[in-house]
């Protein structure tokens, strides 16, 4: 198991999903993972700035990757959109843009080499199942979980490349290793609508509501997602979304790191469960 990573939290972990950061930092030492936060990391563009100024976001992500290279470590993030943006930037740089972009990085005495791979918390956990099983203190055998991948955990497959995007299994494997029961969940690969919640609010709310209702129909105790943006959309906007479709169903939405933390026996408070907007306290 790779033990040490250059940690790229992404903007959402500093504010609206601080409980994701808390729980990752709580589980990492128990799993023997050392996270070294990249000093001076910037926003990855979040798939939004890319539609305004693609060269600026490529430069910003080349800089982010170059900062990780200084630590001589692979990059780890839990935000799926950060994962996709960083991996796409790396592919573009390694595919021929490196030299040109380095002339711009030189203005800040930096240089991108291409030595740091980019991975996600989910992938690292999935690659180390036996070690995780060995660390489980409180198997989640009474918990029925709806696993929600989130678009940028699996799509586009050519940019992510970890597993099949139509039939992925990594997430189920990890959740089962924690002792939880994975329920059949029709919308596990759907989009939560987060990236268009401003311009296409009605559609985004319909998408969010559909996912929550699908989880409720599966009798899930909670939805779990590796992506803090999906978590934010499904949790913070859940009341609004359910009001829009006049649905009474409410389902707590956990970060992957929170679920792992529960199985490792970490107290709910340390995992930030009280920050979840839809009450998740009974899960702790």
């Amino acid at each position: 198991m790779q033990k040490e990573f250059a940690f790229f939290p992404g903007c959402v972990l500093t504010q609206a999903a601080i409980e994701s950061k808390m729980s990752i930092e709580a589980i990492a030492p128990i799993l023997g993972i050392k996270l070294r936060e990249i000093t001076g990391w910037s926003c990855c563009g979040a798939s939004q700035a890319q539609g305004v100024d693609p060269i600026a976001t490529l430069v910003a992500n080349a800089r982010n990757l170059a900062l990780a290279e200084k630590l001589n470590l692979p990059v780890l993030t839990t935000c799926s959109t950060c994962l996709l943006m960083l991996r796409r930037a790396k592919a573009e740089l390694d595919g021929g843009e490196k030299e040109r972009i380095n002339t711009f990085l030189a203005k800040g005495d930096m240089n991108y080499k291409g030595t740091s791979e980019v991975t996600s918390l989910l992938w690292v956990l999935a690659q180390n199942i036996e070690e995780i099983k060995a660390k489980v203190k409180k198997p989640l055998s009474n918990l029925k979980v709806a696993v929600f991948y989130g678009c940028h955990s699996v799509r586009p497959e050519k940019d992510l490349g970890f597993e099949s995007s139509v039939n992925p299994t990594s997430f189920e494997t990890v959740v089962k290793a924690l002792g939880a029961h994975v329920v059949p969940f029709e919308k596990r690969l759907n989009c939560c609508g987060f990236h268009a919640v401003y311009p296409a609010e009605k559609s985004a709310m319909k998408m969010t509501s559909g996912i929550v209702n699908s989880a409720a129909e599966s009798k899930a105790d909670c939805v779990v997602t590796p992506c803090p943006l999906c978590q934010m959309q499904l949790d913070i906007y859940q009341d609004d979304a359910q009001d829009t479709t006049k649905s009474k169903a409410r389902v707590p939405v956990l970060h992957l790191s929170q679920l792992v933390g529960l199985a490792l026996g970490i107290p709910a408070k340390k995992l930030g469960l009280d920050y979840n907007v839809i009450d998740a306290s009974k899960l702790g």
Binding site: A16, G51, V52, P54, M110, S164, H195, Y198, P199, S203
Partner: protein, 319 residues
């Protein structure tokens, strides 16, 4: 192996199961398998197909809820993709109205294609005598998008269309708009860009299903981003979509270097609107956001250098 096929006879929907031996289909394509069912088991099964070589785009169908071009998909690929599966569910493309079994109505999608003005309006400098000559580099820029065969696979999987078709067009419509806007022979790229904006360009949910499923490996999502860049450059910046996207860029370059979620609400919707500004306040009350961030948050280490890098890139791009 079992194939459960969604059927529609014009009045009622039902599923019909066909059983085939794996050895009889493992050398076939998905379309070949459908043809085998039709020829050997059920002449009434309806689907569309023509060229059998991924040119005509007629044979798109869904397998286990994901769209494929039938003639371009080997059964062995499906066996590999859906490991251990002994049953496949075959359905018509989603986000289209079903006419019969696996046959869908293309008229509304073609109407949407018409809206982005799909005929090239050539520059005045071109003449009938001289033609509309393009050099290799100019041609190469758009050659990928020329591969689009209008199979509808991208549209079938688009999460935005599933939520609401009324304010969005099929992803391939935006790919066609991008190609026309970036064709060196066009009189004005805004002919298609403006039309794309008018037909929901900013409503893309970034789910990347279109990128993922296209049998020609075209990314309609990238073409959508390319069109938003073009639209903003030309001053088409009204509405929540442009304001939202620009807020990320502003925070990166002019702000702290990281997204400020309080500013995001304010910059997108303005101080007079309440919906998500209220959400930001809810988050602050929940203790998830620091109200001091409203003063701009902490600027990242090395931000001045980041700005210098971006400025250098922009200056070089302009040259």
């Amino acid at each position: 192996m079992k194939f459960i096929i969604d059927r529609f006879d014009g009045k009622k929907n039902y599923q019909q199961t066909y059983t085939l031996e794996k050895k009889d289909i493992e050398a076939l394509t998905l379309l070949g398998t459908l043809l085998l069912i039709k020829q050997k088991q059920d002449i009434t099964l309806n689907f569309t197909a023509s060229c059998r070589m991924a040119i005509c785009g007629a044979c798109g169908v869904r397998v286990n809820g994901h769209a494929y071009l039938g003639c371009d998909t080997k059964m062995t690929e499906l066996f590999e993709e859906y490991k251990d599966a002994d049953t496949f569910r075959i359905s018509p493309l989603a986000n289209y109205t079903v006419l019969s079994d696996l046959v869908v109505d293309w008229e509304p999608a073609i109407e949407n294609l018409r809206k982005i003005k799909p005929g090239l309006v050539a520059k005045d400098s071109f003449s009938e005598k001289e033609g509309c000559v393009q050099n290799q580099k100019e041609y190469d820029r758009i050659v990928k998008q020329w591969d689009c065969i209008l199979c509808g696979v991208c549209a079938s999987e688009c999460n935005k269309l599933t939520a609401d078709r009324s304010d969005y067009a099929e992803p391939f419509v935006f790919t066609q708009a991008w190609r026309l806007a970036n064709d060196s022979r066009t009189k004005d790229p805004m002919i298609n860009t403006k039309a794309a904006v008018k037909n929901g360009l900013w409503n893309c949910v970034h789910c990347h299903e279109c990128t993922n499923r296209c049998p020609k490996h075209i990314s309609a999502a990238n073409d959508i981003a390319g069109l938003t860049v073009l639209a903003l450059k030309k001053g088409l910046n009204s509405g929540l979509g442009p304001a939202h996207a620009k807020a990320f860029h502003t925070d990166l370059v002019e702000g702290s270097g990281r997204l400020n979620e309080i500013y995001l609400a304010l910059r997108t919707e303005g101080v007079s609107t309440v919906a998500r500004t209220g959400m930001a306040i809810t988050l602050m009350r929940a203790g998830k956001m620091n109200p001091l961030e409203i003063f701009g948050g902490h600027t990242i280490e090395g931000h001045k250098d980041l700005v210098k890098m971006i400025e250098a890139a922009k200056a070089a791009t302009k040259e």
